[in-house]
């Protein structure tokens, strides 16, 4: 069943069918009606591939994320998809696991399917691999990486704002031995969060102890390992700030295993504010970076670029800010004084 079939049955030309379906205003309402009747009756749906072929627009946006099993990302995917569908776009999703190989594959897939734009939500992974896309002038939007340029927009994330709030919150609770568990430092975003931490500490005259900064990998397992490392160190932190919520969950888990009570013995702050954060035990105090807003900004940036007439419009720069949300996982450091000596395993 194709457009010719519809044309025949509605006793009009294929051009008229096309116009009717695309709601071209000049078409006679009578005919349009006739066309739509046949369309409904036969359950006809235009072939998107044919449309794409002739129009040169696939109405597909690529969405590259780090890791779909990190709950931060599904929330992005969800709102990105919702908005995309509203605009009659589909999304080509790919989760790279921060693996350059898979990133390359992803780029190839995007090009083969002729996506109209790509949102790169990997927070700083190997933009070099995206050269191919740039070459083909595919509109791009990055979270948190590099500058905007021709066809490429950038969502700058204000890490400092939220992280400064977190550090000051901890300081207000009289913490001084504050540890930081970073993400994989080859990610620009992980490095940026760490810098924001260091700066926030120095601003208020708190010592930044190198031994209290350890590298995680944005997974629960990484958080567990990181706290293990911290606990083996000579100086024992009273608070831990984490580069993302999954890391914080790992820290919480490891504390539990070692009989360290949160927040009494150790304050923990996460980063991202995944939905789950409010339900863990204790509820996680964390720095929010709105997934919904991020997704919306990314989609809007792409759409703006696609619909812009001025061909060489250089992409825009957007800003997403972060802020602390207080819950149950932090506590006055003096609380440790109440802990009977030897109540933990080390």
């Amino acid at each position: 069943m194709d457009i010719r079939e519809i044309a025949k049955r509605a006793r009009v030309s294929t051009a008229t069918v096309s116009r009717a379906i695309n709601r071209v205003p000049t078409v006679n309402p009578q005919l349009a009606k006739r066309v739509w009747n046949v369309v409904e009756e036969l359950g006809y749906y235009p072939n998107t591939q044919a449309r794409a072929l002739v129009s040169g627009r696939s109405r597909i946006f690529g969405l590259i994320i780090s890791e779909i099993t990190n709950p931060f990302f599904p929330e992005i995917v969800q709102v990105f998809e919702r908005i995309a569908v509203q605009h009659h776009y589909e999304i080509l999703l790919t989760s790279t696991g921060n693996d350059p190989k898979r990133m390359e594959t992803a780029v190839r897939r995007m090009i083969e399917r002729r996506v109209d734009g790509v949102a790169v939500m990997t927070f700083g992974m190997e933009e070099v691999l995206l050269e191919d896309l740039k070459l083909r002038k595919v509109p791009l939007v990055f979270a948190d990486v590099g500058l905007a340029g021709p066809h490429v927009s950038n969502i700058r994330i204000d890490y400092l704002h939220g992280i400064r709030q977190a550090v000051q919150h901890l300081a207000a609770l009289r913490h001084q031995k504050i540890a930081f568990v970073s993400g994989p430092l080859r990610l620009k975003s992980a490095e940026a969060r760490k810098q924001a931490f260091v700066r926030s500490m120095k601003e208020i005259g708190l010592e930044v102890d190198k031994n209290l900064i350890v590298e995680g990998n944005h997974t629960i397992e990484g958080g567990i390992a990181a706290l293990g490392q911290l606990l083996r160190g000579s100086v024992r932190p009273t608070a831990v700030l984490c580069s993302n919520d999954m890391t914080a969950l790992g820290v919480m888990r490891k504390s539990y295993e070692d009989g360290i009570s949160i927040p009494r013995d150790l304050s923990v702050i996460g980063f991202d504010d995944i939905h789950l954060a409010q339900f863990v035990l204790p509820a996680l105090t964390t720095v929010q970076m709105s997934q919904a807003e991020l997704a919306r900004l990314a989609f809007d940036a792409l759409l703006a670029e696609v619909e812009s007439d001025t061909p060489s419009a250089s992409g825009k720069e957007y800003v997403l800010t972060t802020h602390l949300v207080l819950r149950e996982s932090t506590h006055l450091v003096s609380g440790t004084a109440k802990r009977p000596a030897g109540s933990t395993k080390n």
Copy 2:
């Protein structure tokens, strides 16, 4: 840059380019080499839409899931995607939130994009809405719903096996007041899990108290509400079996808020075994339903259907079994005896 461009530069016809690219064995290696050189040099990627148009195959599989923000599903998506890419397929993902409206939209999108098959991982939601797909003879694979038929395969899930293990485990721990928090009962799978619970209880002569069966909605919030309802009831359960892990997390959260200690005061068992389950506090004992295996079965079923030559092959029936994995969230019921009266808020 298109196939003609390649043909010109390699001094062959477009047909030869097409053959070379598709590795048709009869083509002269010399020419093939020449073609590939040009292809590499120019970074040429065939246009998938054009291919799809002429071949009648889009190499896209639809994947319909309930809720991408439920961690159970990202794990399915991840392996489904991985396998799909290996087979040069893309995936059209849609998360319906169990909303019939969005299910309808999803079906329309799938048809418009001419997907080669659809995996329906919604566990029992409104198959009626998929009639349109069936009509068009699009291969379908369901988890846990209905029978296999022409072009439709089914992955039957053996809920009873795992749930029986869970109930017997609880019984062995001397629990008798065992509550069950179901999923939304309009989902066939939720109903099936509940039935498996009831049957498992009866099998071993345990009383099934209607007041101890409450309906949740497979979310954390639902779990919180469900335990609230249970706690308000006249008979107090010593163990709760949940229809999925998110519900169990809600039950754990609510227990925490009300000062009920898990597992000492209340044993909790989940269902699904999401990755997170092993890391929550305490680690969740749960019934595993392998996401990886489910995704693989679904993909294989679709692929088998697509590649089958016999046009009216009636789909196959697959089975996925479930089993209990023991962790930290259950305890001997006698533990409650040690709980000082009034140590909880009610």
